[in-house]
């Protein structure tokens, strides 16, 4: 990994208004958990687990990773500044590794605490039945998988954000729910499978269509494949000019 590119990417994230947006996104589950605690609840374990699955894993996790992953390199490609890191004797795998590491670090810094805090609020401060632990591990693995896929998208297409949104809300949100065979191509299902493996909630509406081990293996394969493809795409990156 190239530490200069890594540091530059962290500064890019820190200097952008989108970091405020991500902070707002991370606050949403915490705020919802506080509102949830104001009411009466029959089974707070099941409801908290469902809440983490439906809000954090389904929406907040992919959105934060989408914003960071597609902008880590995509915004530089779009505005032309990518040439300053690409016209250098730096192996492309080192550039992708630095972009990936920076995206994962920042996404995890927003999503993982949001998961833990909102889970603990829902459970009144006590992580029982492995719920908080399970979802923290699941979202962390989700951060790796989503970030790798969205970085690949940003190198492969100028419409990465649009395609990423379609993947999250149409593919994972609709198609995977309708056709169970597509679960092998859903990072959300990998995360739910991993959370399901760790937690011991008796009735689980969030229960995944995939086993936890399967989810872990598939997430690992997705990360590796996406990063290898991203390096290949960057090796063949072409700069379009105006003349």
């Amino acid at each position: 990994m190239n530490t200069t590119v890594f540091t530059l990417t962290l500064r890019q994230f820190a200097g952008q208004r989108r970091s405020l947006l991500m902070f707002g996104l991370a606050l949403i589950p915490v705020a919802l958990a506080i509102i949830y605690r104001l009411g009466e609840h029959a089974d707070q374990h099941e409801e908290t687990a469902n809440f983490l699955a439906d809000v954090v894993v389904t929406a907040i996790l992919p959105l934060v990773c989408l914003i960071l992953g597609t902008s880590a390199l995509g915004s530089e490609i779009e505005d032309g500044t990518a040439v300053y890191i690409l016209a250098k004797p730096v192996p492309r795998r080192d550039i992708i590794a630095a972009k990936f590491a920076a995206s994962v670090l920042i996404a995890a810094a927003f999503v993982v605490p949001a998961t833990a805090v909102s889970g603990l609020i829902g459970l009144q401060g006590v992580s029982e039945e492995g719920i908080v632990t399970g979802f923290v591990i699941a979202t962390l693995i989700g951060v790796f998988a989503y970030s790798a896929v969205f970085i690949l998208l940003s190198v492969a297409t100028s419409r990465a954000l649009l395609i990423g949104l379609a993947y999250v809300f149409i593919w994972e949100g609709l198609i995977t729910e309708l056709f169970s065979g597509t679960r092998y191509l859903s990072i959300r299902q990998y995360c739910l499978g991993i959370a399901d493996l760790v937690t011991t909630v008796s009735r689980q509406d969030f229960e995944a269509n995939l086993g936890g081990v399967e989810g872990l293996v598939l997430a690992t394969v997705v990360v590796a494949a996406a990063l290898v493809l991203a390096v290949r795409r960057l090796e063949g990156f072409e700069l379009t000019g105006t003349d």
Partner: protein, 318 residues
């Protein structure tokens, strides 16, 4: 294609500073951006000259390894430029696009580049490069607040921070004021004198005339002329030109001018005189002299077809 002389300078320069294009074409779908271009460049300054949209940036990007030729090959230091990332140790690139990281200061930006080149003393190299473009006073300001000309100079500093043997610049003088331009030109001349190969693109004839020793003229994706700039310039100026003339006695001046050997035709209408000449320089000297001899006041002598596009289209027809 017009070849005024060899594009490559005399002698046999080290392959480390040679840029070669061999039957290079590049197309986007059905659009041909560059069509069967070949050249060989050595140390010195070469201007890549052509009107907007001619294909200059496409050629420069292929030299810089950022575009794969659809046909043929571009070689830098005897190796293909495409996917040759190691070549950037010896190559500096100044892109045309203005965007640079707005949150970095000028110093941080050049230092970033020095580190990415893997230099052993990035801070020292950064100071030298910033001094070379005379930007020390503004080096601690954020790039977001720089003028276009200041950004151009910082981009040049970033491209020369590793002391490259080959420097590629895409429209480097855009947005610079005359003093900045002169200063930057002086620096490029010094680099060329040290045996480096410098290629810059421009659509402004005057810039190329002042800086380039040799030239590649690109029109509609084709290389229409290459070689010594002054010989190409003569080809451009020794073509038929048309002047519009206003004087105190257009009829009398027409009679006097038509006798001069530089004039190949005159047309007279109610308001002005149109003169066609085959010798641009001779005519511009002769016209005032003839008018004075005939005691006619010359009010205006205006070339009517001096656009670069017309000059280039003439070269294409030749």
């Amino acid at each position: 294609m017009k070849t005024a002389s060899q594009a490559q300078p005399a002698g046999s320069p080290s392959p480390a500073v040679r840029i070669e294009a061999v039957n290079v074409s590049r197309w986007y779908g059905n659009v041909v951006a560059v069509n069967d271009v070949s050249f060989s460049l050595g140390p010195g300054i070469t201007g890549l000259l052509g009107p907007n949209g001619a294909g200059k940036t496409t050629i420069l990007h292929m030299m810089a390894g950022f575009l794969r030729p659809s046909k043929g090959e571009v070689r830098i230091a005897a190796r293909p430029a495409w996917q040759n990332h190691a070549m950037y140790r010896a190559v500096g690139l100044v892109p045309e696009r203005e965007a640079i990281y707005p949150f970095l200061t000028g110093y941080q930006f050049v230092l970033l580049n020095a580190k990415l080149y893997g230099l052993s003393d990035p801070a020292g190299a950064t100071r030298r490069a910033i001094r070379a473009v005379d930007m020390e006073a503004a080096q601690d300001r954020r790039l977001g607040g720089y003028s276009k000309g200041m950004k151009q100079r910082l981009k040049v500093a970033a491209a020369i921070v590793h002391d490259p043997q080959i420097l590629l610049l895409d429209e480097p003088f855009n947005g610079t004021d005359p003093a900045q331009r002169l200063q930057m030109m002086d620096h490029l001349r010094r680099m060329a004198d040290e045996g480096r190969t410098i290629v810059f693109s421009s659509h402004i004839l005057d810039e190329v005339e002042r800086l380039a020793q040799s030239v590649l003229v690109i029109v509609a994706g084709r290389l229409v002329a290459s070689g010594d700039f002054h010989a190409i310039r003569r080809l451009m100026t020794d073509r038929p030109h048309t002047f519009t003339v206003h004087s105190s006695d257009n009829r009398g001046l027409a009679v006097a001018l038509v006798a001069d050997e530089s004039v190949i035709g005159v047309e007279l209408d109610d308001e002005h005189l149109t003169v066609r000449t085959s010798q641009f320089a001779d005519f511009t000297h002769a016209a005032p002299r003839i008018a004075k001899a005939e005691r006619i006041t010359l009010q205006e002598l205006l070339p009517t077809d001096e656009s670069l596009e017309r000059v280039f289209s003439y070269l294409v027809k030749r």
